[in-house]
């Protein structure tokens, strides 16, 4: 993801460009005027899996709906493949939508149609003849692993299977861009992982750009290459997923990240934490390491060079966008000598550290 330039010509490798986009809803009935999006600028690179994360009501639903014109911006421009979506008439908008797939939180499958019929629907809408539809739908059902269910109705399927059908349906018109609207939010963690794997595979095999919105950091961590954090209608942070996860700058990002397992302090430690050290206290420090550092025997080296006891309080080793990443919270003597040795060790090994506080 790159900072969108103010110029009218977007970068050639951009699948979607939001250029200073705003969306205001005028007051109506009991609800007052509301600004869903406030001058949002964002570029979605072609071939990327870009995530937009935010709490509910942050404006992400509105943002994704601007891409296929389900909502119109009240200010700014949304460009899809260099075309200004807001300037299209209904007919042109319909043909654009036939080239942009979309999947939904609640799947939105037609209960009256079989699995086959649901995947065939966008093709019928685009006026394809029956034989061609047959030939198109079968391999799609194979792709999502549900070829044996083609005559079933959605009511007979599990949530994960329904979303697979949703994905097959979204891919039916062979789009270059897939919009995912909280596609895994109604699924259990295990099913979520399998759907995310499928999205990753589609992205890799079909070269499809995926723009997904979610409120779950797990989803962003598992599949996206780029991420933007949205809060109160504004993009507060964006970048490569790895960078945002390892160096979160904005408070909202940190808050969202704190929900991830391994990044939270145990309650007892969190309560005992002091901002100033007293004599004999220990410093509580978060170490973040990635790339080559994640593979070194850091802890034993740390203990050797500090020459004192080191307690491990919390920790996680994980992958973000395929890159190894570790986060470790340790405690060691807060006296000047021990701290000095520890700091030298961190600098020598290129570790990012953050002093969280002190405990007795």
């Amino acid at each position: 993801m790159s900072v969108s330039a103010q110029s009218a010509t977007p970068p050639a490798d951009a699948a979607v460009v939001f250029d200073g986009v705003s969306k205001h809803f005028p007051a109506s009935g009991q609800s007052g005027a509301f600004t869903a999006l406030d001058t949002v600028s964002l570029t979605v690179d072609r071939g990327s899996i870009t995530g937009i994360i935010g709490r509910s009501g942050a404006g992400k639903s509105t943002l994704i709906r601007l891409v296929n014109g389900l909502e119109k911006p009240t200010g700014g421009k949304v460009m899809v493949d260099g075309v200004d979506v807001g300037a299209l008439d209904e007919a042109a908008l319909r043909s654009l939508r036939r080239n942009v797939g979309m999947i939904f939180q609640h799947f939105n499958l037609l209960s009256s149609r079989t699995v086959f019929g649901n995947v065939a629907l966008p093709l019928e809408i685009s006026g394809m003849d029956k034989r061609a539809i047959e030939q198109r739908v079968r391999p799609l059902l194979d792709l999502v692993g549900l070829a044996d269910k083609h005559g079933r109705y959605p009511a007979e399927l599990s949530g994960g299977q329904k979303q697979r059908i949703g994905i097959a349906r979204a891919l039916a018109t062979e789009p270059k861009l897939l919009l995912s609207d909280e596609a895994t939010s109604a699924l259990d963690p295990e099913t979520t992982q399998s759907i995310l794997e499928l999205l990753k595979r589609i992205n890799a095999e079909l070269g499809l750009t995926v723009l997904l919105i979610t409120h779950e950091m797990e989803v962003v961590k598992a599949v996206t290459s780029d991420v933007a954090v949205i809060d109160h209608g504004r993009i507060v942070e964006r970048g490569h997923t790895f960078d945002v996860f390892t160096h979160p700058k904005h408070e909202t990002t940190r808050a969202l990240l704190s929900g991830l397992p391994g990044s939270k302090l145990p309650d007892a430690v969190a309560r005992a934490l002091k901002t100033q050290p007293a004599a004999g206290d220990r410093a509580v420090v978060r170490l973040t390491f990635f790339g080559a550092a994640a593979e070194k025997p850091l802890i034993s080296q740390l203990i050797k060079s500090v020459g004192a006891e080191v307690n491990i309080i919390a920790g996680t080793i994980d992958e973000i966008g395929g890159a190894p990443y570790g986060s470790l919270v340790v405690a060691y003597g807060a006296d000047a000598e021990t701290s000095g040795r520890a700091e030298r060790f961190f600098v020598e090994n290129g570790l990012v550290t953050e002093v969280l506080g002190y405990v007795a």
Binding site: N68, L70, L93, R94, S95, L96, R97, R98, V100, M102, F104, H106, N108, L110, S111, S112, R113, L121, P122, E124, I125, S126, Y153, P154, A155, E156, T173, L179
Partner: protein, 221 residues
């Protein structure tokens, strides 16, 4: 009961079925699009026309709130214009049809409004035209509910058709009043009522069965 009366009951049953079938068919054909219009023309919907929506809604309500027997009498000039007569089976079809239209329209509207808005959004996201959304999504998804709505219409029509008997409309109601009531033949009245009950039962079970077959949502997995 004389064979003559039995023959009359048979004839009256055919008349009733005929009135209900013709009025139900024409009324539904007109009521269905009106119902679709009512369900899709609100503010921000597929064919936004809020003013016309309100006007049509008002007319539908006015027609529905007019007692049927008053409607029958009130539109006699119109009935005469259309059929050349104001009594008999043919004439009865006109007020029955007029009463069916708003009834069907409201039921169709309700059936369509029941459909998850997410489906409409999904279809729009596929690039469907509003017409494609109506035919491929709304009507297809509402089929079980529409079947029940039409069943309910037919049952109500059987009841209404008995009322037109009061103004010489023919059919079972007419027979029941003229023989069972005015000539004091309770056995005729009883048979008429039983035939009506059987008719309603048949229509209802057929409709329920059909709706169940169309319903792929609540089937057991």
């Amino acid at each position: 009961m004389s064979p003559d009366i039995l023959l009359r009951i048979g004839g009256a049953t055919v008349d009733t079925i005929y009135m209900v079938a013709v009025a139900g068919l024409i009324g539904s054909l007109i009521g269905l699009p009106i119902g679709i219009f009512l369900a899709t023309s609100g503010k921000g919907e597929l064919f936004p026309a809020p003013t016309l929506n309100r006007i049509v809604g008002l007319i539908v309500n006015a027609t529905r709130s007019t007692p049927f027997i008053i409607l029958v009498v009130a539109i006699i000039p119109f009935t005469r214009l259309l059929t050349g007569t104001s009594i008999g089976t043919k004439a009865a079809i006109v007020p029955l049809t007029i009463a069916t239209i708003p009834f069907v329209a409201r039921l169709v509207e309700a059936a369509i409004r029941e459909i998850d808005k997410g489906l409409i959004e999904a279809a729009r996201a596929m690039g469907a035209t509003p017409m494609q959304i109506i035919f491929k999504v709304l009507l297809a998804e509402a089929r079980p509910a529409l079947t029940l709505a039409l069943t309910m219409t037919a049952v109500s029509l059987i009841g209404y058709s008995a009322m037109v008997g009061a103004v010489g409309g023919g059919g079972l109601g007419d027979l029941g009043i003229r023989y069972g009531y005015q000539r004091f033949m309770p056995d005729v009245m009883l048979v008429v009522v039983i035939v009506l009950i059987v008719l309603v039962q048949l229509v209802q079970s057929a409709g329920d069965g059909l709706a169940r077959r169309f319903d792929k949502k609540n089937r057991k997995t």
